[in-house]
């Protein structure tokens, strides 16, 4: 009980101190950003004991503020000299400390050349080791990809992709491929951090899809998320690889790119024995073909797999008047295929309940 009270008291005291510091720094920060930004020591002194608090205070702004102000925030962080402790913190026993250190490298862009104002050596000589340079921090993050704690490895991967340096493309991709299949699409967000420059790199460096189609699935999905039209010829080539998952991912990307010229190629997969592929074809035909896709969508309405029929019905709805007319006709036609009639009725009833298609 007594111990609990002491802990609570200490926690409250720390919180009060944090609030007081943040309030004082907020005023100082706006002055620094808009009035004294280029003056050395323009922000004023920050007690050495408050350095971690100050780091957290600065990090709050990096996700909202960009441009000139963001540069000034970065310089302020560097002027504290706490980045010199990063190598040590990246090897700390506490996973939270390791992750935080990796995150700082990304937030304050410590991978960029050291064109910063040097730390105030004369004021705090014990903090600054002249030999410590900023370059090379990313190399220290690299081993964290093998960290046993998943969130540390994830933060490390984010930091490496944030650098947009393709030097780290191979290890980050290898890390993604080591993860379970169901995690990979989620980890795609991490790979997106490299930007579209990763796509030509993948094209050049990945193993042949005949031998290993899995990384190419990520390639196809990335083409979609970056809407990278230049990669469309490669996507069409990948459709020739006999891998169900790869073909389905390629079709997903082609739906996003929405180029009507690839319609005939997509249509050739409408009779694929794999339902995963037919499901994507049912979506793609509507997007790529417009109202003229109605005759090609009707056979998919009679598909034995519900998911394929559902997608075909949705495509018809998305086509507007011509598609909805086809659905109404199917729903009312006693001679129509039973599967097709049922899914058409289901889709129309659903629309009735909601008051819209």
């Amino acid at each position: 009980m007594l111990l609990g009270s002491i802990m609570q008291y200490r926690k409250d005291r720390r919180n009060r101190h944090r609030i007081a510091r943040y309030q004082a720094w907020e005023g100082q920060l706006t002055d620094y950003l808009f009035k004294k930004g280029y003056e050395r020591g323009g922000f004023g002194q920050v007690a050495w004991s408050d350095r971690w608090l100050f780091r957290d205070f600065l990090a709050r702004y990096q996700s909202t503020i960009a441009g000139q102000e963001s540069e000034l925030l970065r310089e302020l962080y560097l002027s504290m000299g706490i980045h010199a402790t990063l190598p040590q913190r990246l090897r700390d026993r506490d996973p939270k400390v390791r992750a935080q250190a990796a995150k700082e490298i990304a937030i304050f862009r410590l991978d960029e050349p050291a064109e910063h104002v040097p730390p105030p050596v004369t004021a705090r000589p014990w903090r600054w080791k002249p030999g410590v340079r900023m370059e090379g921090y990313l190399e220290l993050v690299l081993p964290l990809l093998d960290d046993p704690v998943p969130f540390v490895a994830h933060t490390a991967a984010q930091t490496l992709t944030h650098s947009r340096s393709l030097t780290y493309a191979a290890p980050v991709l290898a890390w993604v491929m080591r993860e379970e299949l169901y995690q990979r699409e989620r980890l795609l967000r991490v790979l997106e951090g490299f930007g579209p420059i990763l796509l030509p790199w993948m094209k050049e460096n990945l193993e042949s899809p005949d031998q290993n189609p899995e990384p190419w699935i990520l390639y196809a999905l990335l083409v979609g998320s970056h809407r990278h039209r230049e990669s469309q010829p490669r996507l069409l080539w990948l459709l020739g690889i006999p891998s169900v998952d790869l073909r389905a991912s390629v079709l997903k990307a082609l739906i996003i790119l929405a180029d009507p010229l690839v319609y005939p190629k997509v249509l050739s997969f409408a009779a694929s024995p794999a339902w995963e592929i037919r499901t994507q074809v049912a979506r793609a035909l509507g997007v790529l073909g417009g109202p003229s896709a109605v005759p090609d969508l009707l056979p998919l309405m009679a598909d034995p797999v519900y998911e394929v029929r559902r997608n075909a019905a949705q495509s018809l709805v998305d086509l507007g008047h011509s598609g909805v007319s086809a659905l109404t006709w199917l729903a009312d036609d006693p001679a129509a295929d039973r599967f097709a009639r049922d899914i058409a009725r289901e889709r129309l009833e659903w629309a009735d309940e909601r008051g819209h298609m």
């Binding site: 709050r60 990096q62 909202t64 503020i65």
Partner: protein, 134 residues
Amino acid sequence: MTRRWPEQTTVLVVEDDPATAKIIQVRLEMEGLKVLVAANGMEALELLRQEKVDLVTTDLMMPAMNGFRLVQEIRDLPPPKGRLPILLLSSNHSEQDMVRCLAAGADDYMAKPISVQVMVERLWRLYERSHRAG
């Protein structure tokens, strides 16, 4: 191009993070603008009823009433308040969100992290355009 804001031009800044709101406020005040700050959509609507406002800049994700809802509520107000130029700020970069913002009635959209400098410029453009339109 030099910006010449008419005297007493008022900007309503709707932002739930006080630190970000403060930075935006100070920068806009340096432009000679009068700045009102609200922490969510509800507070913003209250201020809109009481004060004369010329421009609105709002965050998207906020408690109580989010940016989408606020834009819709403003657009439902009778003119001239219903036609106020609105700049939406969001930390979500998805195309869907951008479309949703503009469809809700926002005049412009900026993805966070934002350059305050660019934001001032965009507000000026919105102001100019709304005044030219009368």
